[in-house]
Amino acid sequence: MQLQQMYQEIILDHYKNPHGRGLRDPFDAESHQINPTCGDEVTLRVKLDGDTVRDVSYDGQGCSISQASTSVLTDLVVGRPLDEAFEKMDAFVELMQGRGQVEPDEDVLEDGIAFAGVAKYPARVKCALLGWMAFKDAVARSEGAKA
């Protein structure tokens, strides 16, 4: 059944037991993103250490897809160099915008591959990308603040 393809156990696990949730100090920049069609929102903070992502913390409310994908995001980017974090982001965005035609690479996306089924539902792609857009924006803000 299509529903199980979309709501993989991995997604439901991250939804029920999110990783890295809660806003923490210190942080370099914060981003607040809203999905205007449903009102879902996320506030996400980034702490960089040179070019390394030291911490990502977040709070928000929304559907299982948006909350789980933000949880997966923290697993994928915390502790990694920024360029690697952005590579993962690009891979995730490509997967989500691929209408189910993109074969995800587990080495790159780890638990993120569970979202392949979501990509078949265009209305839900925005949900999956909400946290990632906040991450991208927060990093841009922290770099803007440094410049």
Binding site: C38, G39, G62, S64
Partner: protein
């Protein structure tokens, strides 16, 4: 003529709507419960639009050839049908691209009154004046008023909503005062289903010389509505929510007001005389219909009105009442489900919104969709209302003349399935 004595024959009605026969998501029977967003169209409406285009299509109100004449007659004939349908006169109906444009037309025309002639005096608005709306408005009847206030320096105020989802009129005397220029409110909430006491608000507004603007998008398609009897000054509704096409909305304005109201969009068709430096404008409704209008859509909306009249609006209202009652009863029996809006069917229409403990509306909607049940999820363009009702997002089922009691059962069963799927049952 139809009477309420004979109930609506849903099977016969459904046969007129080809789309209701399709399946979705791996062969599931479509249960379409999203008519509050847009309704489906019967063959009669589709055929009327096609027949017009195949036999009489031309740009209306220009050209002296036979097709132009026939197209103009068809367009203006639709205006007459629609006027009759809502109890007003022919010249009081303006076609717009949608209901949202209708509200904007009034708001922008009021803004334009500052630089119009003395006849537009009563529409002028500025610092010290107040615009009153309600917390249960669709964004379409809120944001244009916020913007008018921002442009003119007027103040926006609003009626609150009670916990059960009714308009809180306890402070009506403080809100509607001699400072009030406009009272804009919905006839029937697109989220709560609440039907507001239009006469009470219209009387209060009239007593202080304020204009009333009624959002009738969720009432005109579902029950008999007579704007003259309701005593409102302006009202808007949309074609696509009443079995008609998208791309057409209707603005009603009381004749003497439309005659004094400055234009919003300007250009061809809406002029009286044009010189290089200045122009004068046509009388209403032409003054508010700049450019070549949406003709086949108007004709099809006229056909939709014929269809609704043939069935009878009182019968449709009675049918939806029955469906709403069944939905409220069915949902009340499910632990963990909270209906956002009145729990009884008194002064209540067929939009039933609810939250399910432990399941976000989007996720619930996905399960319902997998079972063929099409509902709306989110804030339904009423974000402040959702905040007020302490819900980030809701699931909304909305009914129309073609829905059946079996479909209400399918909705209730699907909600139980969603609870099972997410392990919150």
């Amino acid at each position: 003529m139809t009477t309420t004595a004979t109930p609506l024959d849903v099977a016969t009605v459904r046969a007129d709507f080809p789309i209701l026969g399709r399946t979705v998501r791996e062969g599931k029977r479509l249960v379409y419960l999203d008519s509050g967003a847009t309704s489906q169209r019967p063959r009669q409406v589709l055929d009327a639009e096609r027949a017009f285009l195949e036999t009489a299509n031309a740009a209306v109100h220009r050209g002296a050839h036979q097709l132009a004449e026939e197209a103009t007659d068809a367009y203006e004939g639709a205006r007459q049908k629609i006027a009759d349908f809502v109890g007003v006169q022919y010249g009081e109906i303006v076609f717009t691209k949608n209901a949202t444009e209708g509200v904007n037309l009034v708001a922008y025309a009021m803004g334009n009154a500052a630089t119009a002639g003395p006849e537009a005096e009563r529409f002028r608005i500025g610092p010290g004046d107040e615009i009153v709306v309600t917390e249960m408005e669709h964004h379409a009847n809120l944001v244009p008023w916020q913007q008018l206030a921002a442009r003119t320096g007027a103040t926006l105020r609003w009626f609150g909503v009670t916990d059960e989802g009714r308009l809180d009129l306890s402070n009506i005397d403080e809100l509607v005062t001699e400072r009030t220029k406009v009272v804009a409110f919905t006839h029937q909430s697109n989220v709560l289903g609440t039907v507001n006491p239009v006469r009470v608000l219209a009387d209060a507004a009239r007593a202080v010389g304020a204009l009333t603007v009624l959002d009738a998008c969720q009432s005109v398609p579902h029950a008999p509505v007579d704007f003259t009897a309701l005593g409102v000054d302006f009202a808007v509704f949309s074609g696509h929510k009443m079995l008609g096409p998208s791309g057409i909305g209707v603005l009603y304005g009381r004749r003497e007001l439309l005659e004094a109201l400055p234009p919003f969009l300007t250009g061809g068709s809406m002029i009286e005389m044009v010189q290089m430096a200045k122009s004068t404008f046509a009388p209403p409704p032409a003054r508010f219909e700049a450019g070549v209008p949406m003709t086949s859509q108007a004709v099809a909306l006229g056909a939709a009105v014929d269809y609704l009249n043939a069935i009878g609006m009182d019968r449709i209202a009675a049918h939806e009442h029955q469906l709403t009652e069944a939905a409220l009863r069915g949902l009340a029996e499910i632990p963990g489900v909270r209906v956002v809006g009145p729990l009884d069917t008194v002064d209540r229409g067929g939009a039933v919104s609810f939250v399910i403990d432990g399941i976000h509306a989007h996720d619930a909607g996905q399960v319902l969709d997998s079972l063929g049940v099409a509902v709306r999820v989110g804030h339904h363009c009423a974000w402040p209302l959702h905040r007020r009702m302490d819900a980030a997002a809701t699931v909304r089922a909305s009914f129309y003349l073609y829905n059946t009691l079996d479909e209400v059962t399918a909705l209730v069963d699907a909600v139980r399935e969603a609870q099972k799927f997410f392990g919150v049952a």
